[in-house]
């Protein structure tokens, strides 16, 4: 036969038992031709464009999933940052357009839309200010529209006023969605050095350099990587472990590339890129934390976690880059707490802390992700946590992000429950040492030096 029995059974097993799937097929749509100073007209144009471009996304994605027997978990849309589309400095205009986006996305059956986005790493425009002012209301009154704000970059430094403003927006959004444990904050990402072709939520937006419309794919195969390492046994040295990760990443990436190309062809748009991130889900076995456990750490967060994660992240890229010529997006392992069964367990028993997570984000994508903290955490402390994460991205010339939920009415020992892919998270301890004066200084932390790097 063209393929051996073992090869076929391996693939079937990866899908059935190891939860290999396509985490998201994201259709990027440019909205530059939808700009209009009249909010009602702008909202109508945006709505019509989403309905037109995305009409067949769900149907074609399901067809391709059936053909290859590869489940597609989410269908999503990423849009041109809305701050570049709505040319009016009026919060009400942003609310109106956001509702149009949310409604259109619901009609065509997509799970999430990204692009309620402002870029303020060096400062805000009047339009950015209006977008941010409307953000808590948008997060609380829309279901699918995800927000992101760029607060820092290696070339601009860190906008500390922006960090402080956004920490207040986060607290406001949490309060407005208190009945659902602050879910509004799960739809808001703050970035340093974001990428313009990310298929993953909540941080996806469709950058200015992208084409009219294209397919962006994110694969999810932590279970398959773990299985490959289990087969190696505990005696294999770390060089052999890295080799096994590479081989398994190659296969996962090929599956993603095949699906992406096929869906793009079916929709008549270009295949933008494949994101090589290992993205976990709360399902048992679909966990990045469990890969670290299989490597030999009792739990994620143990000493050695940063080293193990660096190796994992690097090996996934090395295997994946050979498998696809269209690699882009974030391309790095994700370590969201609430979306990973092993991370949830480690956080519950205190094996992993915010400080250890922060260290781990310096060697992987994407940052302090889906972390619940006490609702009483003050805005200054939250802004300081955000600034620390931005600093890691700035200094290392990489993407970092925060998605933190100050859970209203909850404290250490409690949990937040979002359900679905967003999962659940124990409320984690935050340092009680004050950073208030530092944060209140405001201004901008200058761009870090890019030579003499030690």
């Amino acid at each position: 036969m063209k393929f051996t029995n073992e090869e076929i059974l391996e693939t079937v097993g990866m899908i059935a038992e190891d939860k290999l799937d396509i985490r998201t097929v994201t259709l990027g749509i440019s909205l530059f031709d939808c700009s209009d100073p009249d909010p009602a007209v702008c909202a109508r144009k945006v709505r019509e464009k989403i309905l037109k471009k995305g009409a067949n996304l769900s149907e074609k994605a399901s067809f391709v999933a059936d053909e290859y027997g590869l489940p597609i978990v989410n269908k999503r849309i990423s849009l041109t940052p809305i701050s570049q589309v709505v040319p009016v400095a009026d919060p009400a205009a942003f609310v109106e357009v956001a509702h149009a986006v949310d409604g259109a996305a619901g009609e065509i059956g997509v799970d999430f839309v990204g692009g309620y986005t402002a870029m303020i790493q060096k400062g805000e425009t009047a339009i950015d200010r209006a977008l941010i002012a409307a953000m808590p209301e948008v997060l609380a009154t829309t279901q699918r529209f995800c927000a992101s704000v760029v607060l820092a970059s290696t070339k601009a430094g860190i906008n500390m006023d922006g960090c402080y403003t956004m920490s207040q927006v986060i607290k406001d959004a949490a309060e407005r969605t208190a009945k659902q444990d602050g879910i509004g904050c799960a739809k808001l990402v703050l970035f340093a050095n974001p990428v313009e072709d990310n298929p993953f939520m909540a941080g996806a937006y469709y950058g200015a350099g992208e084409s009219e419309s294209s397919i962006l794919v994110g694969v999810s195969g932590p279970g398959a990587v773990r299985r490959a390492l289990e087969k190696l046994g505990p005696d294999a040295d770390l060089g052999e472990v890295a080799e096994a990760i590479k081989k398994s990443a190659f296969k996962i990436t090929r599956a993603g590339e095949l699906v992406g190309k096929k869906i793009a062809k079916q929709l008549g748009v270009s295949f933008g890129n494949l994101d090589l991130s290992l993205a976990p889900t709360p399902a048992e076995g679909d966990s990045v934390g469990q890969i670290l456990e299989t490597m030999g750490l009792a739990m994620p967060g143990a000493p050695g976690s940063t080293a193990a994660l660096m190796m994992l992240n690097d090996a996934v890229k090395k295997g994946g880059l050979f498998a696809s010529s269209s690699v882009g997006g974030l391309s790095g392992a994700f370590i969201p707490v609430s979306e990973d069964a092993s991370m949830i367990k480690a956080a519950k028993v205190g094996a992993i802390t915010i400080e250890k997570l922060e260290a781990m984000t310096s060697v992987c994508s994407v940052g302090l992700d889906m972390i619940a903290i006490p609702g009483t955490t003050n805005a200054e402390t939250l802004a300081a946590i955000i600034a620390d994460e931005m600093a890691i991205g700035c200094a290392n010339n990489k993407t970092t992000a925060t998605r933190i939920i100050p859970a209203p009415g909850k404290d250490i020992g409690d949990s937040v429950h979002f359900g679905g892919l967003l999962g659940e998270a124990p409320v984690m301890a935050v340092s009680q040492v004050s950073a208030d004066t530092f944060v209140r200084r405001g201004g901008r932390i200058p761009a870090p030096l890019q030579s003499l790097k030690n």
């Binding site: 036969m1 393929f3 090869e7 076929i8 059974l9 053909e67 027997g69 296969k251 599956a255």
Partner: protein, 95 residues
């Protein structure tokens, strides 16, 4: 792959019984799906595993329909059936 070929891989895994291959082959034949290669093994003395390469170019059925018909034919047995376009194996296992 040429335009006049539509290759699928059928995988059947589960508890061994007499006549599984016959049942699967009958459904495929009834629906104009031509078997090109077939491989069957009993793993660890108890688990039945069959992989089969076939051409569905002359069949009017889509993959979900083929899967449903195959599942129907062995519904009283403890088996799982998967039907996939062969391209996925080509992509994942061949450089």
């Amino acid at each position: 792959m040429g335009k006049n070929k539509k290759r699928i891989v059928v995988t059947v895994i589960g508890t061994d019984e007499v006549g599984i291959v016959a049942k699967i082959a009958t459904v495929l034949a009834e629906n104009n799906i031509n078997i090109i290669d077939i491989n069957q093994k009993i793993l660890d003395d108890e688990i039945f595993a069959m992989t089969l390469l076939a051409d569905r170019v002359k069949s009017s059925l889509g993959l979900p329909e083929i899967t449903t018909k195959l599942q129907e034919s062995i519904k009283e047995l403890s088996l799982t059936v998967t039907v996939q376009d062969s391209e996925v194996f080509q992509y994942m296992h061949r450089v």
